[in-house]
């Protein structure tokens, strides 16, 4: 197992390298200086000044040198300056938004878990019951409805018609602090959180159902029942522990889906997170910000996958690695 974990971490390094090379290549293809965000003089006006500036910024260096400069400063959190917001660094812009996306992602994951896992267990224990059919139907609907359309319908009914939840933003009064402001923040996150979590809820529910069904049919459950364990301890001690393993692993891999979904969901609710920043940067061709967000999200996904793999190897000793 330890051998596997070490090997898995060693695989992480070339993947990280590949990710940075892809982002660097995309940045080279983008017009202007996409990595430091320094604006240059117009080459048509004074070629000499233009050349001097390029030289000073290191844009005439060979590509590997430029790559190294970029990676080493990015590792320290320096992604250069924004092209659009004068005088603001990319890190500054991202910092303000990052926490919001993190809260939204965690909140939506929380909703997903408390809804999908109990329903999945119930469906597996009472297959072909009314609730099981209902859950299956919901699973199909949840995967077929585009999340932005669901978000708009939620705004239309729950926010505009009924006025229960705010349609956009994170806080009603920005200056407030304390517990009231925490509740206000949660109140603002309800609709985007549900919207973002919808597809995940549908997916996990189906997985959970088939995992529990699988485990309930296995020999060790029959043994546990045979030796007279109560149904509750069969369910919670033996079944759930085993059925939850693949679900938790799945969450590690689904982090990319969640982050991609956040880009569109945040746009629907005008939620000030990384997603809306990313879209406005793409619109304004603010390439330093675009590249930095692409890199950060890529690294988050890599780490998610790594943790999922390591977790799996720790909790499930049955799998062998050659």
């Amino acid at each position: 197992m330890y051998k596997y974990i070490i090997r898995r971490i060693l695989v992480f390094i070339p993947m990280l390298f590949a990710l940075t090379v892809i982002v660097f290549t995309l940045a080279q293809l983008a017009p202007g200086d996409a990595l430091t965000g320094q604006s240059l003089a117009d080459p048509n006006v004074d070629p000499e000044v233009y050349e001097q500036q390029r030289e000073a910024l290191g844009l005439n260096d060979p590509l590997p040198v430029q790559y190294w400069h970029w990676v080493s400063s990015a590792a320290q959190g320096d992604f250069g300056d924004s092209l659009v917001f004068n005088g603001r660094t990319v890190m500054d812009l991202i910092e303000a938004r990052f926490a919001n996306t993190l809260y939204l992602g965690l909140f939506s994951l929380f909703i997903t878990i408390i809804v999908s896992i109990p329903i999945g267990i119930y469906s597996a224990r009472r297959p072909y019951s009314l609730l099981d059919y209902g859950a299956t139907g919901f699973g199909f609907l949840g995967l077929a409805i585009p999340n932005f359309f669901f978000g708009l319908i939620a705004i239309y009914f729950l926010s505009i018609q009924l006025g229960w939840f705010p349609a956009q933003g994170t806080l009603s009064s920005p200056g407030a602090a304390g517990f009231g402001s925490f509740l206000d923040r949660l109140h603002h996150m309800v609709l985007p959180g549900i919207t973002l979590g919808l597809a995940g809820t549908a997916t996990y529910m189906r997985y959970m159902r088939s995992e529990v069904l699988d485990v309930l049919g296995s020999d060790y459950i029959r043994t546990a029942r045979a030796k007279g364990m109560t149904e509750n301890s069969v369910l919670y001690k033996h079944t759930l522990r085993n059925a939850l393993i693949p679900i938790i692993t799945l969450m590690g891999f689904e982090i990319g889906v969640l982050l991609s979904g956040a880009v569109i969901t945040e746009q629907v609710f005008q939620y000030p997170g990384l997603g809306t920043l990313f879209i406005s940067s793409v619109t304004n061709r603010d390439f330093p910000v675009v590249m930095a967000i692409a890199l950060i999200l890529g690294v988050l996904i890599l780490i998610g996958n790594l943790l999922a793999d390591i977790f799996y190897s720790i909790v499930d000793p049955r799998i062998r690695y050659d």
Binding site: I22, I145, Y156, G256, F278, V282, V290, G298
Partner: protein, 307 residues
């Protein structure tokens, strides 16, 4: 579970003995018969065909030009001439719904076909030859999978100044080929070890012949099922990108860019007839494609039918 796998060992589990004497059915015919028994899937085929023909024959249902703007008639409610009203540029919503459906379906279908071509070619090379080339293709697939799809697609769209529909389809296909490639490779890996392949090789069949005559027909089930489900995903992706303004460019209608009208709070609140129909159209289309995909999965692989 165990009795189930026993059953599938016999080649034609569902065939009645009377028919066997007359004429044996091909696996494809058997799959078709199993598919026809799945009511939900058959109904979905009809629904999808209805939507497709309605959009394809759009000029029969409306005389209006979906791209023609009329600044004197913007954001109108439903009327006799404009059944679903008009949008912010005075374009007729009903005409846009029908013509937009053409675009959404064509984009979904072409992107699926493009991905299928990439997947079959790379998956065949990877799964058939194995070794170093397999390693290279699979590592490339790993790298593509770790990038968040939407972020990668948007970054490329930001770099490209002018986005056209063929370019859009290409970007979608080039950023999402790994899943299908992996699935095809996976089925090949198990086929490679089977005796009939050894037999084919022994009588001197070429690699191309083995791939096209033996591998692809044997892997056709998973290929068709996953391609079908992929089309549904692509329709949602097109809608999502068009919704945030980086998909099908105006004035061309698509279901996604019709919904983006609802980003205007006034239209969201006062004109649900403008943005709900395209959303429902996507929903129904994707739902029927998913049902068809599920039906195909059960038809090609009776083992998978757990419920």
């Amino acid at each position: 579970m165990q009795s189930n796998s026993q059953e599938t060992l016999s080649t034609h589990p569902e065939m009645e003995p009377r028919e066997e004497q007359k004429k044996s059915k091909s696996p494809f015919q058997l799959a078709l018969r199993r598919f026809m028994k799945n009511k939900l899937a058959v109904i979905s085929v009809f629904v999808l065909l209805t939507i497709t023909t309605t959009c394809a024959l759009a000029p029969l249902f409306t005389d209006l030009d979906p791209e023609r703007t009329n600044l004197l008639l913007i954001e109108q409610g439903p009327s006799d001439e404009h059944i679903l009203g008009t949008n912010g540029q005075g374009q007729d919503n009903f005409a846009r719904l029908l013509y937009g459906g053409r675009i959404s379906l064509i984009v979904g279908f072409s992107a699926m076909f493009f991905t299928l071509a990439i997947g079959v070619i790379l998956g065949s090379i990877s799964g058939y030859y194995g070794g170093k080339i397999d390693g290279v293709i699979m590592r490339a697939a790993d790298i593509m999978l770790m990038l968040p799809f939407l972020v990668l697609a948007l970054t490329i769209i930001a770099i490209i100044e002018e986005l056209t529909i063929p370019l859009f389809i290409t970007i979608i296909a080039l950023t999402s080929w790994p899943n299908l490639t992996r699935i095809i490779r996976g089925t090949y890996l198990s086929l490679r070890e089977q005796e009939f392949v050894l037999g084919a090789r022994a009588i001197g069949a070429s690699d191309i012949r083995i791939i096209f005559r033996h591998f692809i027909p044997n892997a056709i089930g998973p290929i068709i099922v996953n391609a079908t489900l992929m089309m549904a995903t692509y329709i949602i992706i097109e809608a999502g990108l068009s919704f945030i303004g980086f998909g099908i460019p105006q004035p061309t209608p698509s279901w996604g860019n019709m919904i983006s009208e609802a980003m205007n709070v006034r239209i969201l609140r006062e004109h649900p007839e403008a943005w709900v129909p395209p959303g429902l159209a996507i929903f129904i289309t994707v739902l029927s494609i998913n049902f068809i995909g599920d039906g195909l999965r059960d038809a090609f692989d009776p083992k998978s039918k757990e419920r």
